[in-house]
């Protein structure tokens, strides 16, 4: 790379490099069952944002545990998590990733 940062492990092999990083973790939070949460991250303005969802403490075969919806808005600064229309939602971990445009 022509510029950036590389960090090597004690054995001399590469441990981290800005050269190949594509996404950063913007935030991680847990949303309670049936809750609606809207978090704003001004540092994400103009970035590409995606969100990963993982239900917590839910049996793998339960048919009544619904994942909440995630909406990214406000120039990628606001992450809104809410139950699917007409359905209750289960506790969920939200992992928000940002990519500099």
């Amino acid at each position: 790379m022509s510029y950036g940062l590389s960090i090597f492990k004690t054995d001399g092999t590469l441990g981290f490099s800005t050269a190949d990083v594509t996404w950063q973790t913007l935030a991680q939070f847990t949303v309670a069952a049936n809750a609606t949460v809207a978090n704003t991250y001004s540092e994400a303005a103009g970035m590409t944002v995606i969100a990963q969802r993982q239900l917590v403490n839910v049996p793998p075969a339960s048919q009544e545990d619904y994942i909440p919806n995630v909406v990214i808005s406000n120039n990628s600064q606001t992450i809104t998590v809410s139950p699917q229309s007409g359905l209750s939602s289960s506790q969920c971990i939200i992992h928000v990733l940002a990519q500099d445009a």
Binding site: D20, V21, A61
Partner: protein
């Protein structure tokens, strides 16, 4: 900026700064028990009884923070998915489902947490980046920060079964007819997403299994048994049903991230009844076996984000 730290890559994209927290390597989760099965439809031995099978490995890790778990496949040809993540105190448990019934070659699970939640390093040299509050770490070079090398939103196809079309309910079969005509396997049902950063040597991925589907094939049989000149008829009814519960699962191929399905459980139920009466006045009766513990429906079929990284940097 007036103060702080910022590192960019060759494209000028910000990779490290003092506002966004990076994930750091917590450790590999400890593998415990394994549950294997469902290579065939339980209770049924006729045609189309074969399923993909699945193994569920259980892993645990201790953390005060919420870990992001990456699956590093040992066998890249198999489908993988985290079907359950639970916590008790600071002990996190992950159930990882993989296709097939062999418990050999279990995947490894690499866990990452925010810089503030990773155990303090005893190393005296390195680079720390803090937020403007001066106490919250965003980056710690001593604790193996996560370099995410790819990611996107993915969703599996709506139909998890190899046979085309949704298995439905049909009538008009002969009494006690019970021959399954639907291929419930999922091996050819996936959506492939191009990702040039994926290899089948050391790529690991994080993408929770979110979608779930239960499909059922049901056949109703009937026979009317009558005596001389159509007298004293008896009705005979039967119902045969085959079902499979699926969870979304993922596979890494060189240059591709595949979003598909793997059967979690499958079973068979059968019932038959016949009326009393008839020409010789025989008694009625019924027989049944098996149950379907689920409703045939699909839930949580939405896009979810996957991310990948190079596992060898954390070995």
């Amino acid at each position: 900026m007036a103060y702080g730290f910022e590192a960019k890559n060759d494209s000028g994209n910000v990779i490290i700064n003092d506002t966004i927290e990076n994930l750091h390597f917590l450790g590999k989760a400890t593998r415990g028990s394994a549950d294997s099965g469902h290579g065939t439809i339980t209770g049924y031995g006729g045609s189309n009884s074969t399923l993909d099978g699945r193994v569920i490995h259980t892993y645990t890790v201790t953390s005060s923070g919420t870990p992001v778990a990456f699956i590093k496949p040992a066998d890249y040809s198999r489908w993988h998915g985290i079907i359950k993540q639970s916590v008790s105190g600071t002990t996190w448990t992950f159930e990882v489902m993989i296709s097939g019934t062999s418990t050999s070659n279990p995947p490894e699970v690499y866990c990452f947490v925010n810089a503030d939640d990773v155990p303090t390093s005893s190393e005296t040299h390195g680079m720390l980046v803090f937020k403007s509050d001066g106490t919250t770490k965003t980056f710690d070079s001593r604790r193996q920060p996560l370099a995410i090398t790819g990611g996107a939103n993915v969703v599996p196809p709506s139909d998890p079964t190899n046979s085309s079309g949704t298995p439905g309910t049909t009538s008009g079969h002969s009494w006690n007819y019970a021959t399954n005509d639907h291929d419930f396997r999922s091996s050819s049902q996936y959506t492939a997403y191009t990702d040039s950063n994926i290899n089948t040597s050391n790529t690991m991925f994080a993408c929770p299994s979110m979608a779930q589907a239960c499909y059922k094939r049901q056949m109703h049989g009937y026979k009317e048994s009558c005596g001389f000149l159509g007298c004293c008829c008896q009705d005979h009814y039967s119902t045969a049903a085959w079902w499979v519960m699926y969870r979304s699962a993922f596979r890494l191929r060189s240059g591709y991230f595949d979003a598909g399905w793997t059967g979690y459980a499958g079973g068979y139920s059968f019932s038959s009844s016949y009326e009393s009466g008839g020409w010789f006045g025989g008694g009625g009766g019924s027989y049944s076996s098996g149950t379907m513990p689920y409703t045939a429906k699909t839930i949580n079929l939405q896009s979810n984000a996957y991310i990948i990284a190079d596992s060898s940097r954390y070995d």
